[in-house]
């Protein structure tokens, strides 16, 4: 397989602006921080969730609870995504019942990750609502799922991949389109 980096879509500043805007939108829609908590989907969604919480704290002056969700055990395409995904811990140390959950992931594609995340969340309690934040929506949905807050919509072809790189794991912030062709 040949991977070719095609274009850089977002950089450090534009990622920050997108998340900052989403922070404002979340606060506007929920009328403040009351009853909201932020849960990121491992791996990169967890870092984005932390950042979003920091921006919200910066804007409102109030901390919100942040959790991390590992959805490995809930996937319906376990064997398709990787030879063997490693099971990590879910880390939600607060009650989600009657909360408005802001669910965060990096890329929305088929919708199967989000479907798994919804199943996992309802095993933890009955939230009042679940709202979805994604940094990138690349289309090609296979399930009736949509995001409530989107950093950037990027129409893509099936043979393209979106790579979200974050300083916390990858050393720097950027989003790139990668061309993937079978050799």
């Amino acid at each position: 397989m040949i991977m070719k980096e095609k274009a850089k879509i977002l950089d450090k500043d534009t990622i920050k602006r997108s998340l900052m805007r989403i922070a404002h939108e979340v606060l506007e829609k929920n009328q403040g921080t009351r009853d909201i908590c932020i849960i990121g989907i491992r791996n990169r969604g967890a870092y984005l969730a932390r950042r979003l919480a920091d921006y919200i704290a910066h804007i409102e002056g109030e901390d919100v609870s942040v959790g991390i969700l590992d959805i490995t055990l809930y996937r319906d395409d376990l064997t398709l995504i990787a030879p063997q995904p490693v099971v990590h811990k879910t880390d939600i140390d607060f009650d989600i019942t009657d909360k408005n959950i802001i669910l965060v992931d990096d890329v929305l594609y088929t919708g199967r990750t989000v479907r798994a995340a919804l199943d996992a969340l309802v095993d933890f309690g009955r939230p009042k609502s679940i709202q979805l934040v994604v940094l990138i929506d690349r289309g090609h949905r296979e399930l009736p799922i949509r995001a409530d807050y989107v950093g950037k919509n990027i129409p893509t072809a099936e043979n393209e991949m979106i790579e979200v790189r974050l300083a916390e794991v990858d050393g720097s912030d950027e989003v790139v389109i990668v061309d993937r062709r079978g050799s």
Partner: protein, 310 residues
């Protein structure tokens, strides 16, 4: 690290990396048992058969709970109440279980190598839940998980295994696992209960309990299996307790931080005093809890290996 084995037969054949993968996976599974809804759908639609030719409560219940928390369906077959009593062979029983379109057999048998025979004849996964004097890998895994959690590391720590080493599959699996992970192991028992050549497995042998406990970070106390004493060769219980029983007085001369493990069931007043079993150093019930996570990890990994093959 990729898990490729359809079976778990023992720790002897596993690499250090494979054992570490099971331990890491088990740590992640611990949190499932702490939730209000103690269940994840990872093994939904799979069937696990517990095939037990020897009496067992804790191991069978632990496997059953582990499988159910992964959403698998579980069937228990006890040899006393099955066709085994009519003379059916192990392989025939296994083939029938496979023909019922099940996915995993968890087998306990009094013959060493029984799990390996089944694994060789069947396409479905086989997990060894104890075979004769050979191995009891999930017990060793839960012991090691408990050690790692309590001591914070494994490399360089020192563990004493005290008791009937000769007849103990728990001891053998522990020795294979611990030595691969860089743990220093000392075995301690009366001469007749130490098998010849055990030093070749990389362990230190002593017949003096005080010597065994001196530098130990943990002591794993084995149950004296009097039901296996066919030749009447064991020391009597009082004599054994006097020389090898783990008591408060003996622990007072060991490291203050020493932890005490026991695979159960306990013979109070034979290999361990009640005071120690119920005392602050004891992690015996934590072992029981960790057994669920260790077995969930093994069930999950062998099931994944099967799915990847298809």
């Amino acid at each position: 690290m990729l898990w490729k084995r359809k079976d778990l037969l023992g720790l002897e054949e596993l690499s250090r990396e494979e054992i570490e993968l099971i331990l890491d996976t088990a740590e992640s599974f611990k949190d499932v048992s702490r939730r209000a809804i103690k269940k994840v759908p990872a093994l939904r639609g799979k069937t696990v058969v517990n095939l037990f030719y020897e009496p067992s409560t804790r191991t069978r219940v632990s496997f059953e709970i582990a499988a159910k928390r992964l959403s698998a369906d579980v069937i228990n077959i006890m040899s006393e109440t099955s066709s085994v009593r009519k003379g059916e062979t192990l392989i025939d029983t296994g083939s029938n279980i496979q023909a019922l379109k099940t996915d995993i057999i968890v087998v306990r048998h009094n013959c060493s190598g029984a799990a390996a025979i089944l694994a060789r004849h069947l396409d479905i996964s086989v997990i060894n839940a104890g075979d004769g004097w050979h191995e009891h890998p999930t017990q060793a895994l839960l012991d090691i998980l408990t050690l790692k959690e309590r001591l914070g590391r494994l490399e360089g720590v020192s563990v004493a295994i005290v008791g009937d080493i000769a007849h103990s599959r728990v001891a053998r699996s522990n020795i294979w696992g611990l030595t691969k992970l860089g743990v220093r192991v000392t075995v301690c028992a009366p001469k007749m209960l130490i098998p010849a050549g055990i030093e070749d497995l990389g362990v230190r042998v002593t017949h003096n309990l005080e010597d065994a406990l001196k530098d130990a970070d943990a002591v794993n106390v084995l149950r004296m299996q009097f039901e296996r004493d066919e030749k009447n060769a064991f020391p009597n219980q009082i004599e054994y307790f006097k020389n090898f029983g783990i008591t408060k007085e003996r622990l007072a001369r060991a490291k203050r931080s020493i932890i005490v493990m026991h695979p159960g069931p306990l013979n109070r007043g034979v290999e361990i005093s009640s005071e120690v079993a119920d005392g602050a150093s004891s992690v015996i019930l934590e072992q029981v809890t960790n057994g669920i996570a260790a077995r969930m990890a093994v069930l999950f990994l062998v099931s994944q290996a099967q799915d990847n093959k298809e």
